[in-house]
Symmetry: C2
Subunit: 180 residues, 2 copies
């Protein structure tokens, strides 16, 4: 078993944090192997952000993501940049409050995370955590309890309750594949 | 040019954050390529924490650290675990308030980061940032200004001033190689 997950969006959306939480949930709380990577090139200055996690039941010798199985995307720019790596079987979970057109490749799930974060919690900053909950609900790669524990390990002190509420928003909703 | 940096310590010391800040400083603020990695195996449950950064002036095809050029270590357990990867030319920067014996391999620089963080700033949580400042002062891989900007990008809101003070503590001191 090897699952490749890519998160992408713009700086300030917590793309790196989402990757770290998923890596921790899979490894520390579900006993799997995980490698979590950020790659920065000269283009990093542009404000795009990318974070990758490879999860496996055995040791991971090649930590790079080449053909993601799951692509979580939170900006139109990131969608444009990485859609070429999306194959037919890839699950694309996209923030539909920021990206209006479903991607033409992969199995696309719209999740209006930024809108939900704002409307339900008053803080757009936790949209990334809603996306993590949705990832669990849609793909089943990690379970909600493992994510919850990894969220508590990772987020700044004093923001635990806000982040757990965001996670549950993502976990509880019944996400549907977009009809393209 | 390729520089491999490994950070290690125990959970809660901000080992992952240190790696992220170094990766951002090198890439976004110094125009280099950087890949920042966390690998978790079943042993991750034990509370040990490891984070790696590869920095290069060209694209990084192999992101794993095999022979670190710089090893920043903040617990005796981590020292024991990774000292076998340290070669003669490796710079070992160790928290001498937590690790009493200098390592017998590499060029060892004691930095009493946890003690300094507590005494000067009243918060041991920023010992990792002092270590980053010391890394810059000792190795010159990244400059202080790039680190400062990356710290501001990364740390939680409201903790910026505390973290900058920690960084400057690490940058300003004149660290000396330990005599083994």
């Amino acid at each position: 078993m090897r699952v490749e997950v890519r998160f992408s969006g713009f700086g300030g959306q917590g793309i790196v944090t989402a990757g770290i939480i998923l890596g921790r949930a899979a490894s520390i709380y579900q006993g799997l192997h995980a490698v979590q990577t950020q790659s920065y090139g000269p283009e990093a200055r542009g404000g795009a952000s990318r974070s990758e996690v490879v999860i496996s039941d055995s040791e991971i010798l090649y930590p790079k993501v080449t053909k993601p199985d799951v692509f979580v995307v939170m900006s139109g720019e990131a969608m444009q940049k990485y859609i070429r790596d999306v194959g037919r079987g890839c699950t694309v979970i996209y923030d539909s409050s920021l990206i209006k057109t479903p991607p033409e490749r992969g199995r696309a799930y719209p999740v209006p995370a930024t809108m939900l974060a704002k409307r339900e919690l008053g803080r757009t900053i936790v949209a990334n955590i809603i996306m993590l909950g949705a990832l669990s609900a849609i793909t089943g790669i990690v379970d909600g309890e493992a994510l919850e524990r990894a969220v508590l390990d990772t987020v700044p002190k004093g923001t635990e309750e806000l982040n757990l509420r965001a996670l549950r928003l993502g976990l509880q909703s019944t996400w549907q594949e977009a009809k393209v």
